[in-house]
Symmetry: C2
């Protein structure tokens, strides 16, 4: 088994995602990131490490004419060779305003629709550490403030029916790792559509800014991604609203096993890990969810609390930090 | 009155610093930043907008031989022409390890000693918006995490006897403003000693990285400085320890007027402003400080609280923020 594939299943287990059944939609642009994700996931299914059905989804933003069509053909051929179902759509992103944002919105809308239609529980995308670092720098330069500097989460909910958007490469794979894995598999890949001239800022950040910063710190990609991660955690500390709240009504509709899995993946996605979490903690939250007499708060390790309010559960952390000396 | 001088007195008032008496130590390297600060402050004293005695302090890090001596002679001549007292010291910073850090520590130690010897209440330095932005980028590239990304405060305590370190240019003046003001005054300035080859990273950030980022955002200096400011506030929000705590013993040694001024400048330095602060709030903190029966908390505007604990007062904010959608 290739190192890339081993790393993927390790991350999958670390994220405590289901391994046995269900459908996964994999977003494949044709670039090295998404192609390597598809190949490695397919390999895990073939080796019975994962028991999922895979559906390939390709969205053609309609921004690059013949080149876009060639990408679509490439992805279709790849899915056929692997014997996988494929869903494709040609969008019509307007070539004005914030094109990157428009394209992203259209792509995620398509992916949500496919996930719902295929009854999938999650959508995988091929985001790498590089994407995390580039997004951080773009938002920093743009001046989007602390909110834009927080890390993209590895797992978050998407769409109205709470499908999971999962980025299983983002914490460990660099773009060069995905390219190397594709080459090892003897597979060509297309230039990622993010690389088109229109995403000018992102491409220049990738090709000019990051190499210059890399002269100061050869691990600049990892450093920026880690910084984004720390700002994410930083901002989630203190009593603030957390992106993913759980509805008690939704929880109480689940059977016991599903409920526990849901709670664990919720805590992991908000807190970043499951360190110190024991069954008694999960049971405490269950009591909170099920009983009107069990108070408002369940204690969790590391100063975290699950708090019940207005029919929803949220996680908060009361954290006391020292500020170090500065300049 | 020159715009630069008007901006300085405006900031002085905004910071609610004393205007009528006492001694100020001004750290002057001979560079445009510190020379412009000295000239403008001296102008304000001459015009009786400020009633302070000024002491010029120059620290020769002993890193650049004859050039350092020429800087010292330049500063001595400037102080003499302005009729100001001057304190100088030649340090002996070791030319190994983190030279910039060593030089800074030695410089601040010297400034603290001068402030104590001269019975000054504050030390002024010529830090500009550029320094804020450069420090932010250096710490970002170095990977120092959220703590290193927070803004340098405009006012903070320094040394054991609680002198104020005040950077009255840092929120509004760019380096080019200080250079322009020096030229307007017909005054040459020395190349700032921070520009010496040894502070290699900072100089390259100034001369290579910032100009490249400026191609994406012409206001990059301001943007980075604002981001640092927002991260500073961000990190101070939530229940966390605040850098400047007040000792009750110290407060109770002050007379009523001094106590109120101390509380206002404390709140301003921690919270960033005095918005909504009324006399009743100050009185609430006074009661907290003076009486053992007045509870543990005084409410302040904007969700802030002064909290008494273990003989010290600190400011905390319980703030609820929404997280916006990300990538």
């Amino acid at each position: 088994v290739r190192k890339f594939v081993r790393e993927l299943i390790t991350e999958w287990r670390r994220l405590e995602l289901p391994v046995s059944k269900g459908t996964l939609v994999i977003a494949v642009s044709g670039g090295a990131d998404s192609v390597s994700l598809l190949l490695a996931t397919h390999d895990l299914v073939r080796r019975k490490k994962l028991g999922h059905r895979i559906v390939v989804a390709h969205f053609d933003h309609g921004l690059r004419g013949a080149e876009s069509e060639a990408d679509a053909e490439f992805v279709r051929g790849l899915a056929e060779r692997l014997g996988l179902d494929i869903r494709m759509e040609k969008g019509n992103v307007r070539k004005r305003g914030n094109i990157e944002q428009e394209a992203r919105n259209a792509r995620y809308e398509f992916l949500s629709i496919v996930a719902t239609a295929e009854n999938a529980y999650g959508i995988l995308t091929g985001h790498t550490i590089n994407d995390q670092a580039e997004t951080f720098l773009m938002n920093l330069i743009r001046g989007s403030g602390p909110d834009g500097l927080r890390a993209m989460p590895v797992v978050r909910e998407i769409g109205k029916d709470g499908k999971l958007l999962i980025r299983p490469l983002m914490r460990w794979a660099k773009r060069e790792d995905t390219e190397r894995f594709c080459r090892e598999q003897g597979l060509e890949f297309r230039e990622d559509s993010m690389n088109c001239d229109r995403a000018f800022t992102r491409v220049r950040i990738r090709k000019e800014v990051l190499p210059l910063l890399g002269e100061f710190n050869p691990k600049i990609i990892e450093t920026l991604a880690q910084t984004a991660g720390m700002l994410g955690r930083e901002s989630e500390a203190g009593e603030k609203s957390i992106p993913i709240e759980l509805s008690l009504a939704e929880l109480n509709a689940l059977d016991c096993l599903d409920l526990r899995n849901r709670l664990r993946s919720w805590i992991r996605s908000v807190r970043g890990d499951l360190r110190g979490l024991k069954l008694k903690h999960i049971e405490g939250i269950e009591r909170l969810a099920k009983s009107k007499k069990s108070g408002r708060i369940a204690e969790l390790p590391g100063g975290w609390q699950a708090v019940k309010r207005a029919g929803r559960l949220r996680l908060v952390q009361i954290k006391v930090e020292k500020r170090p000396p500065e300049n």
